[in-house]
Amino acid sequence: MTTWADLLFLLVLVLDLFVLASSRLRAGIRAVAAQGGLLALLPVVLAGPATETRHVVALALGALAVKGVGIPWLLARATRESTVNREVAPLVGFAPSMVLGALGIVVAVWYAGPIPLPVPGKHPLLVPTAIGTAWTGLLLIVTRRKAVGQVLGFLVLENGVFVLGLLLSDFMPAMVEVGVLLDLFAAVFVMGLVMFDIQRAFSSLDTEKLASLKD
């Protein structure tokens, strides 16, 4: 089972890098959807004999529905309707942001060891993946100009939080699940409103234009 979990974590991280490197918003959305699907598998793979099957299944299905299908579909529709389909000039270039992301992940892998965990015996890549994914999300939010790119960043960030949530799911299963999913939903909702408003005001999804609102 460890190998499969290894592979899953690795793929999640590779998808992080892919999102950082891709300039096409559509490809980015697809990658985030795939990442959501992979995350849905994680609770299943990580489930030990002690965990309750019902919770695992609920968490997996919920994650799949929301992260793997629902939100990506909404985003894809939003991009189809707007004219934007490519991040043109990010504040930090694609290759440098990928290298930055990789550095963050390396640091996470290196220093996750000493972090004291409430639950011993978890998978060694769990915390690094969570931190690395959250770091990727933050990078995306900071470096991208287009609102869709920033929403992708939020989603990746939430994916990181979700992975970290898995750590606690043994303690307070329901709370974590509901909390994580709701949090996510709220974030997307807010961003959706923001996108809609920017679009209506400027007929564009470039957040740089918000700067012109100053006096």
């Binding site: 190998t3 290894d6 592979l7 690795l10 991280l13 590779v14 890098l17 490197a21 300039s23 694609f94 290759a95 990928m98 290298v99 990789a102 992940i105 390396v106 892998v109 290196w110 060891g113 060694p124």
Partner: protein, 303 residues
């Protein structure tokens, strides 16, 4: 001994067939019949039988390019395990010699291209050195990861029996390394998504545009050399992916050849399904390959 001779013979004969397989797979996916498998060999022989025309700008450097380039790739073939239990010449650090010989082949090709004074060939040469310089760290990060995982210091051990054990303990890292080396193989051999060997627009070419002025036997030497180089990188990918330990050398040899065919088919599939990347995106792909194998190394070092 028998298998050493056999692997060298296969190295000299089979590589153009890989090109044939790639062409066939591409055509089949597109719903066409495709050229016969032996077509690359026929093309080579036809070119070798022709005369050559030389640009008045060129010097001996241009004439030496194809000869030295092919000789370097042939010498590199001595260092790679190509199906036999061991490479023909194996020693600690042979991977560095292999990479440098391929570098020599590239250097003379680039210099020969610059000898024509053509702006197009200068452009191709600039792209070639840019992309290969960026591919180099990806390859070596992969090799370092393999060394960490198998404990080997030469290609025979890096790609040898130790891999069978390594695949069991470090599967995820090796997967990343294999992926990264596959990308390097595509880039080094001027395949899609880095370069399109079938394009007809000089502005978008990399490798082809460098050899625009070569003709006749010179071009035959270059194209044969390109096929041999593909076979060498195929060996790297196949040995890495195969990973299994086969006691019977004959079976291992057969598995290796089958792997080469599969490698060619995989390239054909990639070419049939993907478009060439914009040139500005190629460095990103190669840096991505470095990041992948670097990541594999970090995972290996942690444990």
């Amino acid at each position: 001994m028998l298998f050493t001779a056999l692997q060298l013979a296969a190295f000299l004969v089979l590589p153009p067939l890989l090109l044939g397989v790639i062409g066939r797979v591409k055509s089949r996916v597109a719903g066409r019949e495709g050229p016969p498998l032996l077509q690359p060999w026929r093309d080579l022989l036809r070119l070798a039988g022709k005369g050559a025309v030389y640009s008045r700008t060129t010097t001996w450097v241009f004439r030496a390019g194809p000869v030295v380039g092919l000789a370097a790739i042939l010498a590199a073939g001595l260092l790679m395990p190509l199906g036999a239990p061991s490479a023909t010449v194996a020693f600690a650090g042979d991977f560095a010699l292999l990479a440098s010989l391929l570098g020599l082949a590239r250097f003379v090709t680039v210099v020969a291209a610059l000898d024509t004074g053509s702006s197009f060939e200068g452009m191709g040469a600039a792209r070639e050195v840019t992309f290969s310089a960026l591919a180099e760290p990806a390859l070596f990060l992969g090799l370092v990861s393999l060394a960490r995982s198998t404990g080997g210091l030469d290609l025979t051990h890096l790609l040898g029996d130790g891999l069978a054990v390594a695949w069991r303990s470090d599967a995820s890292s090796l997967l990343l390394v294999a992926l990264s080396i596959f990308v390097v193989a595509l880039a080094e051999n001027a395949r899609i998504p880095v370069d399109d060997p079938a394009t007809h627009l000089e502005l978008t070419m990399i490798h082809e545009v460098m050899v625009l002025d070569h003709s006749g036997p010179d071009l035959a030497l270059i194209q044969y050399g390109a096929a041999l180089k593909l076979y060498l990188f195929g060996a790297l990918v196949v040995k890495l992916a195969l990973g299994a330990r086969l006691a019977d050398p004959a079976a291992a040899f057969a598995a290796f050849l089958a792997g080469q065919l599969a490698f060619a088919a995989a390239i054909g599939l990639v070419e049939a399904t993907m478009a060439r990347l914009r040139l500005v995106r190629v460095p990103q792909l190669l840096i991505g390959a470095s990041v992948l194998s670097g990541f594999a190394l970090v995972l290996l070092l942690r444990t």
